[in-house]
Subunit: 478 residues, 2 copies
């Protein structure tokens, strides 16, 4: 029976040890392999194909809003990194430094980009001169490096893949509009493509991006109730423009600093996909992002007509990303493998089925089985894939909604933090000291001041009791 | 008139100074911008969009042959780089070294990958155990770093984009087959998509890849008669497998080393596109790779109905990559800009044209004009774009064929090298000393021992007069 064999037995159950379950899944689903480079992972075909789908669909959405892709250098000269004070303080402790080129020492150290604000500013300094040159809405797909001490596949690694958008605008309003537009684009993408509901909101000053005026975030909730920051969008105001001397002649013929934004989503989101949708049989991929949507598994494939009928079925399902597994493994092993890899649908077809003119569809998410007439297979697959996609979203949304707890006293807050996995809704005075105390006491951090759930639930800060300024969602986080 | 304005006057003519013409074109067509990182360029939207088209079309062709994409770390530990002797000798003098992570010195230096054979070998060492695990046909799209002393946009820069395929096979025959298959794939892609004819052949030992048993190459000829190595495919035999201890249990139950290949094409190919097809008005892009295939330029656009008709025309041409330039620049400037950027077709549409139910198409390559009925515009555009594509190839092929000169004596060889831009066909004894002498005397290098033109034109080495072993194509090269 599916799920009863060696492959599945090799993964720890999530109830027993969620962290180990995660590590087992990324390894057994062959998403990654560890490398000889400490803290850096290898993304294998099954993992990279997910990223390619994310990249293509996100990129199409970017381009529909006027984004243009560019490619910036991998290195940042130390002097360039140092120009914006907050930014360098935020990043310098975690960058990798190149000190030698070939056999010779460099006259100036170069860091491997941890993010590219400084390079984009340097470019904009050179190419933005008049309001006619604005806006510039550039993006790049690349890898960045941050010298993390402890690492985990997708969630935190010394090198990771991402996209980083960097824009420059004539007015503060336009920059703010772009910041929000991209945050919403990320939230829609997560919802519609990844079946991941998120909370949109603003970061507190403590948690915002080094050098930003405001950071907006989408926060997703993992199966274990922890948060994963899934995409961020920053409004820089004109701070970077001042530090990097980006100036343009405005419509009033005066020299002004433009306003800038940046926004990014990374391979961390694959970690979210795993931890939002996965189960004790392995990965569960939403149909819209799954590299393989349907796998056809022939039963008794050596019998006459089985492989031919599997091939016919594949042809009938050609509008989907479909493949036939005709390897010499047993059907049971193939079932487990399909479950481990998270392909949304499998179809079993054997001599008996062929005789009856049917095949058997099995959903990955619910493991429900459906016997379907062969000539109705394509219509059925389309319908059921849509259903899987929306069911997966609805289940994740329900989990999120059910894991939202309110606290009006600090005892209540601490009790929830200790006993109820999820987000804590609580009022905050606005002081960083309270954030720090809460973190020290409970390991919980402020996730965001939500856009949509803003009504005060008390007039006092949950931590210090002083007058409250903001409603904040708090949570443990990856 | 087109071509008579400031924009075009700003580029040097190719006859006057080809190198300066090249630099002017990449800059004025806004393909690149120089960066503050010495030797590294910024690829701007107009340049990056070309690379995106190359990437997508090449990637589709790869996948059709079973290639799977992966992502390897950016860094290589020094000890890992050092395992294959020829390889490290070839690359160590030109790599960038990371010595510090965050605030601390690393215990082992890491180089920024100049190429990733060593990393792929390390992966294959871990994941290849049985003949059932073979073949692995992996590829990655990434950037690599080589610390070049003199750099030129696209042609030679310290960081460049490429793809690198790395495969591992059960038998020597299969590896050789893959090596040739990928070389042919590159040649077909250059011919069919980039309209660039190439010479396929084998590199001499002096010119082959560090660590390879055999390197195959496609060599393109630039407008100035110089060669540009446009893609290479290497057969490693089992040398890397031995150095990196990759072993598998074969069908005979014995432990064996597998055979490997690697193959790559880089952003250098954009340099080839420019230098094969460009002219004194700027870039000329083949329709199949052009990010914009048709630009519609409204004439007297403020007059009633002009922009509406331009929009209608855009709709009629929606099967192509089309845009309307309705900026407030003059039509003359827009014409020059279209020519500089190399868009294959422009369409002019003004009040007079609309009255007559026509528009005017202008080819970028020949600058020919055609008056076309509005309701026939789409059919005409399709036909003429195909024609441009094949004409561009044919012209480049004619140039290549006309720039191939035979030499049977060394005096003849030196005369051609000095006076006739192009490739020199000459016999060679097989000794590296002759290659070195030829290079020292004439700056000409061996490009390849061609696959298709192998008949001996003499029985003596053109340099030393000893018995000849191979027919070689020689040339000056980028």
């Amino acid at each position: 029976m599916a799920g009863d064999n060696k492959l599945v037995k090799e993964i720890t159950s999530m109830e027993e040890d969620f962290a180990q379950w995660y590590t087992d899944v990324v390894k057994k689903a062959e998403l990654i392999e560890y490398s000889s480079v400490k803290g850096c992972m290898i993304i294998l075909p099954a993992g990279y194909a997910i990223w390619e789908n994310i990249q293509r669909q996100l990129d199409d959405r970017f381009k529909a809003t006027g984004v243009e892709n560019v490619c910036m250098p991998l290195f940042i000269p130390e002097s360039l990194l140092n120009k914006e004070k907050d930014h360098v303080e935020g990043f310098a402790p975690e960058v990798a430094w190149v000190t030698h080129g070939g056999l010779e020492p460099l006259t100036e150290r170069l860091c491997v980009r941890p993010t590219s604000e400084t390079l984009f500013c340097d470019l904009y300094h050179n190419i933005v001169h008049s309001y006619r040159d604005l806006p510039k809405v550039f993006n790049q797909w690349c890898s960045v490096v941050r010298w993390e001490k402890t690492t985990r596949p997708f969630l935190r690694s010394r090198e990771f893949l991402w996209q980083e958008g960097h824009t420059v605008h004539e007015t503060a309003e336009e920059a703010e509009e772009r910041t929000v537009q991209m945050l919403n684009l990320y939230a829609d993408f997560c919802k519609e493509v990844l079946a991941i509901p998120t909370i949109r909101g603003r970061k507190t000053d403590k948690e915002k991006f080094a050098g930003a005026e405001a950071t907006y975030t989408i926060e997703a909730m993992m199966h274990d109730g922890k948060a994963l920051q899934s995409g961020t969008s920053h409004n820089f105001g004109d701070g970077f423009a001042k530090a990097y001397e980006i100036q343009f002649t405005g419509r009033d013929n005066k020299l002004t600093n433009p306003h800038q934004t940046s926004w990014g989503m990374s391979t961390r989101i694959i970690g979210a996909l795993i931890m939002v949708h996965g189960d004790n049989y392995g990965l569960v991929l939403p149909p819209r992002i799954a590299p393989t949507q349907i796998v056809i598994i022939p039963i008794q494939q050596k019998k006459e007509g089985v492989l031919e009928n599997a091939a016919k079925l594949k042809e009938a399902l050609k509008d989907f990303r479909v493949k036939v597994d005709d390897s010499d493994k047993t059907p049971g092993f193939k079932f487990s493998e399909q479950e481990m890899r998270g392909f949304p649908l499998r179809v079993e077809i054997g001599p008996k089925d062929i005789e009856n003119g049917v095949c058997v569809f099995v959903r990955r998410d619910t493991r429900e089985k459906y016997t379907v007439k062969l000539d109705e297979a394509a219509a059925f697959a389309g319908k059921i894939l849509d259903e899987i996609q929306s069911d997966m979203y609805n289940r994740a949304k329900e989990h999120l909604d059910n894991s939202l707890f309110s606290a009006t006293t600090y005892d209540e807050f601490k009790d929830i933090a200790e006993n109820k996995p999820g987000f804590i809704k609580a009022m905050w005075c606005g002081d960083v000291e309270c954030e720090e105390k809460i973190k020290a006491d409970t390991t919980v951090t402020s996730r965001c001041m939500p856009f949509e759930d803003t009504e005060a639930i008390s007039d006092k800060c949950v931590c210090c009791g002083k007058p409250a300024k903001h409603l904040v969602y708090w949570g443990k986080a990856y």
